[in-house]
Subunit: 371 residues, 4 copies
Amino acid sequence: MTVINGYEQSDRNEKLDILNLPSLEARAKKIIPQGGFGYIVGGAEDDWTLQQNTKAFTHAQIVPKALSNIENPDLSTNVFGIDLKTPVMMAPAAAQGLSHSLGEKATAQGVAAVGALMSQSTYSSTSIADTQAAAPDAPQFFQLYMSKDWDFNNALLDEAMKAGVKGIILTVDATVDGYREQDIINNFQFPIPMANLERFAAGDGKGKGIGEIYAAAAQKISEDDVRRIAEYTKLPVIVKGIESPEDAMRAIGAGAAGIYVSNHGGRELNGGPAAFDTLSAIAKAVNHQVPIIFDSGVRRGSHVFKALASGADLVAFARPVLYGLALGGALGVQSVFEQIDHELEIVMQLAGTKDIEAVKHAPLTHFHYEN
Amino acid sequence: MTVINGYEQSDRNEKLDILNLPSLEARAKKIIPQGGFGYIVGGAEDDWTLQQNTKAFTHAQIVPKALSNIENPDLSTNVFGIDLKTPVMMAPAAAQGLSHSLGEKATAQGVAAVGALMSQSTYSSTSIADTQAAAPDAPQFFQLYMSKDWDFNNALLDEAMKAGVKGIILTVDATVDGYREQDIINNFQFPIPMANLERFAAGDGKGKGIGEIYAAAAQKISEDDVRRIAEYTKLPVIVKGIESPEDAMRAIGAGAAGIYVSNHGGRELNGGPAAFDTLSAIAKAVNHQVPIIFDSGVRRGSHVFKALASGADLVAFARPVLYGLALGGALGVQSVFEQIDHELEIVMQLAGTKDIEAVKHAPLTHFHYEN
Amino acid sequence: MTVINGYEQSDRNEKLDILNLPSLEARAKKIIPQGGFGYIVGGAEDDWTLQQNTKAFTHAQIVPKALSNIENPDLSTNVFGIDLKTPVMMAPAAAQGLSHSLGEKATAQGVAAVGALMSQSTYSSTSIADTQAAAPDAPQFFQLYMSKDWDFNNALLDEAMKAGVKGIILTVDATVDGYREQDIINNFQFPIPMANLERFAAGDGKGKGIGEIYAAAAQKISEDDVRRIAEYTKLPVIVKGIESPEDAMRAIGAGAAGIYVSNHGGRELNGGPAAFDTLSAIAKAVNHQVPIIFDSGVRRGSHVFKALASGADLVAFARPVLYGLALGGALGVQSVFEQIDHELEIVMQLAGTKDIEAVKHAPLTHFHYEN
Amino acid sequence: MTVINGYEQSDRNEKLDILNLPSLEARAKKIIPQGGFGYIVGGAEDDWTLQQNTKAFTHAQIVPKALSNIENPDLSTNVFGIDLKTPVMMAPAAAQGLSHSLGEKATAQGVAAVGALMSQSTYSSTSIADTQAAAPDAPQFFQLYMSKDWDFNNALLDEAMKAGVKGIILTVDATVDGYREQDIINNFQFPIPMANLERFAAGDGKGKGIGEIYAAAAQKISEDDVRRIAEYTKLPVIVKGIESPEDAMRAIGAGAAGIYVSNHGGRELNGGPAAFDTLSAIAKAVNHQVPIIFDSGVRRGSHVFKALASGADLVAFARPVLYGLALGGALGVQSVFEQIDHELEIVMQLAGTKDIEAVKHAPLTHFHYEN
């Protein structure tokens, strides 16, 4: 265990026996300090949107194709020109030092071990360069929380380009912090420095409250910013936090190379629809002009299947990975991805879909069920 | 603490630490005597409509507008020619002496402190003049429970005009008391005098049972009454308790200057629809001919947003304010409004709506969820 | 207390303090012996249809008519040429000796006291003549469970005609006993003689199991039987247990003078729809050719209102009356009717409906709610 | 009790007092060892599809036909040219030695006693010949889990033909084992030899883990396999595990003599629709070209009725039978069938359907209910 500003970080590195990803939450709660756990697990207000995110996967049902004559389904895919062994990727979760002393470095290693795509957050505990260096040959995206200060933005983007990231995820759905009651209850202050903030301005990001950190963040984000970042980096810019077809088309019009459908895991706007419910209409509008990444509520291989069959090209998740990170470090992260890939493989075989392309064309029914 | 007819009134005056408004109920229950608390919290029959009122906000979902380039959303609005700092107003709740020894006077001060609109009930614990005088420069509406006795009605309206109220809310959905089981269980009798009743007929309103007080109230209320009050006062008359487009149009035809969509917080007719579910059809029919006030079930900033986006111009609430009044007097009331305004501001920023006008044009989805 | 075959019958006769009718179930359970209580409360199989019967009233919602200018709503009505003070009537429940030593005689008195319509069952604990004689001037219907033996049927009808009943309810939805698990668990045998059976064949109906009693009942019931009974008695024949428009029209074609929409309170066929959900389509088909009686699940004044507004002319209930009978005899029965009439009157006033005819034309909304 | 590899098998043979089939689960749990019970009761992942399977029967409701003039409804039917006393049949459940020392032999005897159709699984604890011989004159189907090894497949089919089975059920929805968490929690390994596997390759099937047994199973199953088996056996081939009209038509095109609508009792693909919800569309497409068998979630006579009224010709179930087998051997199995037949008979009488053909034409409503 590593103690930093009184916060006890896990140092574990071991494979995990995982029954299913939902069960990790209770296990992780025992080893992540209360403030950090509350920050990770919590949604906005009363968690309604957060809870619907996962429940909403029951709104679509997988119709298995019988007599499909397939075996050993292939989970590999190529998105944004990147070869991946799985359509499941790591969402750009902040402050992974809350889960583990190695933070994003361990996550990157675990993600690389399964051939998945890593993305790192502006508010990472480890620097862009260090996170990339932890898995030097594996593909990573850098997620940008825009600051009001473009010197800061450009410096981050410079670092990301230097580190060789394959794309920039521009988050647009968190222009102010969601009203997260867990953090208020815990009076949570980030105990762990945020490396990217520290590097830019010594002292920044260390021991600051959530409010202060966000104070430096840009509230105004526009289509111009998408264009500016795309031009500056020449990298694919994926706009994260899209929940309507109209916004998806505006983002593409502004130069977005990808659409990231998400409601930030229910952490920002409470009272919006479950992200999964918004996916198929957006995919229909986007009509394969650019790839679609989806997250929010994904906990099962069958969720990944349903998101792909509803129009996603990649499916991201974070909380279960952060729990795996706490419980087992890089190897724990790897175990989490292996579990969801294992479940996805079973679902693909049972659904009669031989590869990810087949999954994307799989039919779904929409009977109405209660959970 | 002030004791009146054996009833213990709060004397507090302090700002409150508020996690969220629903959590105030349990806190207030500890300090408001059982009979008074039951009167405030209870709905008609088995509380079905009361409970659906709040649940129904999940029937519409906020679709955030990404890349909207806004910051510091502006909550101010102008309704009925009145400049307000927030679209959230105080509903005309009766008998606030049940919550606090200063009754409506403290409420008026707390409401004024946040620049919101106050409305006071015919059955107030403090007189029209005293309530207005508690916050002399702040806008107030007077709510009329019509009596069978027009001398009484005119006397009240005279006082209201003299006090300078900006409008008259005519309640039409409570022509008999709802079947409130809490009051029956508690054998509740009003322990606190009702100032407006006392002034008209000495001894009236003091220590009377709910039934007796309502016995003097008019059951027959017609479009003619709307006309009569509008002509008598020359003030805007807002008809409160509208649940159908047809009734809204009839009220406007009778001279209503505003429509108040409400089911009385579930306190009158049980088995009717959630008020929120009736709002958008009414707003479509009214088509901006007059402003619309909405209440019943509002507990969150996101509820306010959804009501505005469904056609309301002002959104009222009462129970959380009455709890704040008990827990903190005028300052407690102020804290309650600050909390819901704070939540609304976050929701507006996250939804990409720069001001109330933008909220009114914000799209909503209507996916089906269970609560 | 009266003890008969070891079964303890209530002898009470007192007005009841009633909060609401659902709360009577727990009170009655304390004084009705387990076997009798299980027989009364139980539905078929797992009670699914029974439970949906009451829940289904939330499928329609009352839209109050504002500014309706009414007071003191009038509950009286005239159906089948009979003047009644309330549209709520007593359903023909069997074996009321399970609740009280005076059985149907006390029920008839309580029902008469409120000016409601009484109906008595073939399987009554007291005879047709005695039940009618208990309230000689009050209107009663006789309900017929057809036997395979027409001598028995005719004898019963003769007695009913002699007693002066105003109509015959022919039950057609119980041609075999529902699979009532409570009775199986309790190994329930009727401990109380059934007077009508006893009179016809000495020894019959005394101490027999449910199965034996039903063995004598006719399973085959056809449109011819409706015609035969109507011709024999020259009384209005109301066919009870109709759940589809088609069956209603067939019954009318066979001479039915009334349609009784019911699923036998969920006691017969489990897995059918809630009776309330079937009502409006049936009423539309019947189109006022004959009156419609409705029962199954009615517990509130608002339920009565919704049934009337959906096409019923009379609304029946039984279980709450049987509980009131046990708890207070004839006076208890009266209290139960007074309570539901009181609730109905409040609902009528709040809904803006001055009389039963207005209720029948009141609009309902059909928003979707969970209970 | 018989102990085999440390596993305690029931030896009981007695008629059971059964309140209803759902209640058998708790009774059986007390006598079936934990691993075996988990294997029987468990579904895939979090049991969502398993639970919806039974709940979904509430999505359709039985509309009784009044005045139908019927009695003593007839449950007999003829499907695939086989005379049966009931439309309820035994689904081909594996490894019945987990429930009873006599395994499928006892089941076959119990099934025969009620004149129902038996089907036995490839993974039976007793051999094809022995199972048939246990009830030599009763009709049986043999269910095939295809192996990659056609010598094995042909050997099994040869045995089945020799034993005189009336049809072959080809399961196509289990080409890999579902992700059954109960088995993982229990680290379940089959303790009982599987006779058909043993006979083919000595030592096979004994004490193997579920994974190993499935490793030998074919993942690739195609329309060609249907043709091949039909040609080889000249027996009706029923394709089991169909959930869409398209697949049903493809199976028929490949020579299927019957369609078996099922999601394997929720044991394979979780996140698919309830099997019952898929039935009517499939039946409409099949349009009586071949008979339809239905299973998944059937626990009540009313479920059987609803499945028949939705297009099924035979309705299968397994878990309740396996519980009856454990609790009472062949006589327990008989009791389970007698119970569901008894319930079905009551439902048929109450619904006014004189025989199975009438049930198939019975109307259903589709009101929306929560469970």
